[in-house]
């Protein structure tokens, strides 16, 4: 017993003020930071894809299929960190079988299933159906067999059936936009509806989550497009890159304004929690919030993107700035998720003290597992691009798009 208390006392030295005894351990750790980050990328990538499809932003054609496949790859992985974090993962299906309908978390399962089954898989299937039928005829052996299965027996590629595909695809995208909004807005709601936690409890939370998702999704596709084009030794479509950069700037301005609004509102209202939250920001979250999220992840990329997009820069330089800005945005958005999830648990609900979070390297919720979950979507995306090459259309279509812009 004495040794237990001694160990507790030594641990206590890192804490400040008073924390409820049950609050010393953080309950949602690194994996729960990864979960909204991945879901955000899904929603962002899908919304980007729908811009091309529904709003006819022709410049984005080269990244349309890439966005869809990225969304799918990230969506496959998004629930895995949640599952790994559960105390009893073997009981996780209960959330679907006997859900508690008043629970935001239980309902998220259905939003996720809807998004995966009805929106993303269907849209990709309709979009790729013609190509899959052609590949199933061209390819021999195993691959031909796989493509035949993927066509689900719908091998009619006549003019009228392709028109039908297009129509349905468009309809799914139109349903898909509010679904993508719902998917990530809902993640925000899971946090924003916790009235016990003044750092989370905010009506703006779902909207802030949504816009940060759009920002992260566009930045991801921008970076992915540049990397994949480079490794395929193809010419990159500058109008597409410029359009992506523009959209990224607009989304970032909205996102940053919303977060600023949230911040100003809290500061001005100055509720009971303001002292401990200010203390937390200036001590525990200084690096991840002020430096990583606001300066490196928002202001620097925003200014450099505006400079690169609208300034007079050589194309090479412009590309480099875009790429670095896109990476910085990812750092910024990951920090945003960190600051929400970890930040919300660093202060005591007694509003009298701060706790600490030490990342484990190994273990189920450790750094290595986290890195695995962050890299896994890229591995899945690689397989998906091998199976359903998203670049078939770009070689043919870049030129007309460029011509249109110039």
């Amino acid at each position: 017993m004495e040794s237990m208390i001694a160990s507790a006392v030594s641990a206590l030295q890192d804490f400040t003020g008073y924390i409820y005894p049950n609050e010393y351990e953080l309950h949602w750790e690194l994996l729960i930071v990864v979960y909204p980050y991945l879901t955000g990328l899904v929603a962002g990538a899908f919304i980007l894809a729908s811009l091309e499809r529904v709003f006819n932003v022709k410049e984005l054609q080269p990244v349309y299929r890439l966005s869809l496949l990225s969304a799918l790859a990230f969506l496959f992985v998004a629930p895995l960190p949640l599952l790994a974090h559960l105390g009893h993962p073997e009981r996780s299906l209960e959330m679907f079988l006997t859900p508690h309908t008043k629970s935001a978390m239980a309902m998220f399962g259905f939003v996720y299933a809807w998004y995966l089954m009805v929106v993303l898989l269907l849209e990709i299937w309709f979009d790729y159906r013609k190509s899959m039928v052609i590949w199933s005829r061209e390819k021999k052996g195993m691959m031909g067999f796989i493509y035949r299965i993927l066509t689900l027996g719908a091998t009619d590629i006549s003019e009228s059936s392709l028109r039908f595909d297009d129509k349905v695809g468009k309809a799914i995208t139109i349903i898909g936009i509010p679904s993508a909004f719902l998917l990530h807005g809902y993640v925000g709601f899971i946090f924003g509806s916790i009235k016990a936690n003044p750092w989370w409890s905010s009506v703006l939370m779902p909207i802030v989550f949504l816009f940060s998702a759009i920002v992260s999704g566009i930045a991801l596709i921008l970076a992915l497009y540049m990397i994949t084009t480079m490794f395929r030794f193809k010419e990159i479509s500058m109008p597409c890159l410029n359009k992506l950069a523009e959209l990224l700037i607009y989304a970032m301005i909205v996102d940053f304004s919303l977060e600023l609004l949230d911040f100003i509102q809290r500061l001005y209202e100055s509720e009971e929690s303001i002292n401990i939250l200010s203390h937390m920001i200036s001590s525990r979250l200084f690096i991840s919030l002020i430096i990583s999220q606001i300066i490196l992840g928002s202001l620097v990329p925003m200014i450099s993107l505006i400079w690169a997009r609208f300034g007079r820069l050589p194309v090479e330089m412009r590309r480099i700035v875009y790429f670095i800005a896109a990476l910085l945005v990812q750092v910024g958005i990951f920090s945003t998720r960190w600051n929400v999830v970890i930040g919300g648990q660093l202060f005591s609900k007694s509003l009298r003290g701060l706790t600490v979070y030490k990342i484990e390297l190994f273990g189920f919720e450790g750094l290595l597992t986290t890195c695995f979950f962050l890299l896994l979507p890229f591995a899945i995306l690689y397989v998906l691009t091998k199976l359903l090459p998203p670049w078939i259309i770009d070689e043919k279509d870049i030129k007309p798009a460029e011509a249109q812009v110039s």
């Binding site: 351990e25 209960e94 508690h100 629970s103 399962g109 916790i194 009235k195 005591s348």
Partner: protein, 258 residues
């Protein structure tokens, strides 16, 4: 003759058709009777619907001995490590100037260390804490599988065979009353010693309190000691602005208590 037979069944046919009806009637009535029987077995003499439990805590009477927190750990097999508590005692020291100083070393089980003599103390007092068994419990609302629920006698419980260990309830509790059981990997919290209530016993913390600072009873019944406590004291509930409607009532609690 034939017509006669079809209109009026003879005795043999009548008995036969009756015998066919017996299993059907049985099938209709069996579930009802079985359910009644099972319910009677489950509740025994105890009828949960007539109870609505709550607790009163008199801050003036609490001497901070921590026996309640110790008894709770023993009674409910709560892990002995210092960061798992179903109930704990906090010490508040209000200096003449500045912020209140609060501590709860090992939940108050081993007593409290001497205070720094330099502090010009205005007042000090002890506050026992536990699950507030809220009527409008946020933990119950957020549980994705309904493993956390309110019993018919008004106690918030966790079904440990059903809890998935997502810890959403721990995040949703404004009082820090929940923890993840380190071995069972499910949410754990005060049950008002539910296993004792059904036997007509008091919760362990109430039983061992040497000063009767904790009063347990019915919220609604005239004869309940809790009713008397509520009648003769000015009480507050913690974080009332959150509208959780707690059923743990504090008499003599300072505005600093949260």
């Amino acid at each position: 003759m034939k017509e006669n037979k079809s209109e009026k069944p003879n005795r043999r046919e009548f008995l036969l058709s009756c015998s066919k009806a017996i299993p059907l009637t049985g099938a209709l009535f069996f579930p009802l009777s079985a359910a009644r029987l099972l319910l009677a077995q489950e509740s025994g003499d105890y009828d949960p619907t007539v109870h609505n439990y709550g607790m009163g805590i008199d801050i003036h009477k609490c001497i901070g001995c921590g026996r309640c927190a110790a008894a709770c750990k023993t009674e409910n097999n709560v892990p002995l490590e210092p960061h798992y508590f179903r109930t704990w005692v906090e010490r508040y020291v209000l200096p003449s100037e500045g912020e209140a100083l609060v501590d709860s070393p090992n939940g108050g089980i081993d007593g409290f260390p001497e205070m720094n003599e330099d502090i010009d103390t205005l007042r000090s007092f002890f506050v026992p804490k536990l699950c507030n068994h809220c009527t409008n419990a946020p933990c119950v609302q957020v549980c994705p599988v309904g493993a956390t629920f309110i019993t018919r006698d008004g106690v918030v419980l966790v079904d440990e065979k059903y809890c998935v260990g997502c810890r959403y309830c721990i995040q949703a509790c404004p009082y820090g009353a929940r923890f993840l059981h380190p071995e069972k990997k499910v949410a754990d919290k005060c049950t008002f010693c539910y296993h004792r209530l059904a036997k007509g016993l008091l919760p362990a913390c109430v039983e061992v309190c040497p000063t009767q600072a904790r009063v347990f009873g019915e919220v609604g019944q005239q004869s309940s000691p809790l009713r008397r406590f509520l009648r003769f004291n000015d009480v507050i509930v913690l974080k009332s602005s959150l509208n959780t409607l707690p059923k743990v009532y504090y008499a003599g609690a300072d505005g600093e208590v949260r």
